[in-house]
């Protein structure tokens, strides 16, 4: 079964308590926001980290994307706070 990697950074990573995990690949019609809602529904650190999408940014296969982007056939979704640069 095809899997999707999810990677977390900064306080998203800290709240969830891990920096990477694998989930079953979603229906190609699902968006990043759908994935975030699905993960937040787990409660606990997930709800804390992912409950407010306004505080989150995402990348699909190492490209920044808006939350309503389709995940499609991507291999990796990254969820993180707005970057703070150098």
């Amino acid at each position: 079964m095809a899997m999707l990697s999810i990677v977390y950074f900064a306080w998203v990573r800290e709240a969830i308590g891990r920096d990477e995990e694998q989930v079953e690949r979603l229906d190609p019609g699902r968006t990043v926001a759908d994935l975030v809602a699905m993960l937040a529904a787990r409660g606990g650190g997930y709800a804390e980290a992912l409950g407010d999408t306004a505080r989150l940014r995402a990348a699909v296969d190492q490209r920044f994307v808006p939350m309503d982007s389709l995940i499609g056939e991507a291999k990796e979704v990254a969820l993180f706070p707005p970057v703070t640069g150098g």
Binding site: V7, F9, A10, W11, R13, A59, Q62, F64, E76, A78, F80, P81, P82, V83, T84, G85, G86
Partner: protein, 147 residues
Amino acid sequence: MKRVAIQAEDFDVGGELAALEALGGGGVASFTGVVRGGNGLVALELEQYPAMTQAQVGRIVDEAMGRWPLLGVSVIHRFGRLEPGARIVFVGTASRHRTAALESCAFLIDWMKSDAPFWKKEHFAGGATQWVAARDEDAVKAQGWDS
């Protein structure tokens, strides 16, 4: 010349600039960012998204080289734990035209400061920590270059 380095180690600014000077363009501009102290800060911890950083920085360097007539660009960004006074980021540009060198240097550092996939965590005396929030002014500044 195009050089992008994402590294934990410090770097030699004089050596980086000498390589750009040697390209024969006549003008070399640079910006170096250093960890600022104050408010009891004992260290800044920089986290990156390694699979993304090198490619993203490479792409913005290509964009700068397309926009301005540059002979060389060097960008270095450190990650890991950095104490006040430590260098974080360096951008150097070489051109026959000083305006091109200066403007592209400003463009690249604006992008590095607002859009590069790094996150900063402040460590204070006594053990308190805090993730730095993104500053809107940086995003606005970087967007100013789009048009």
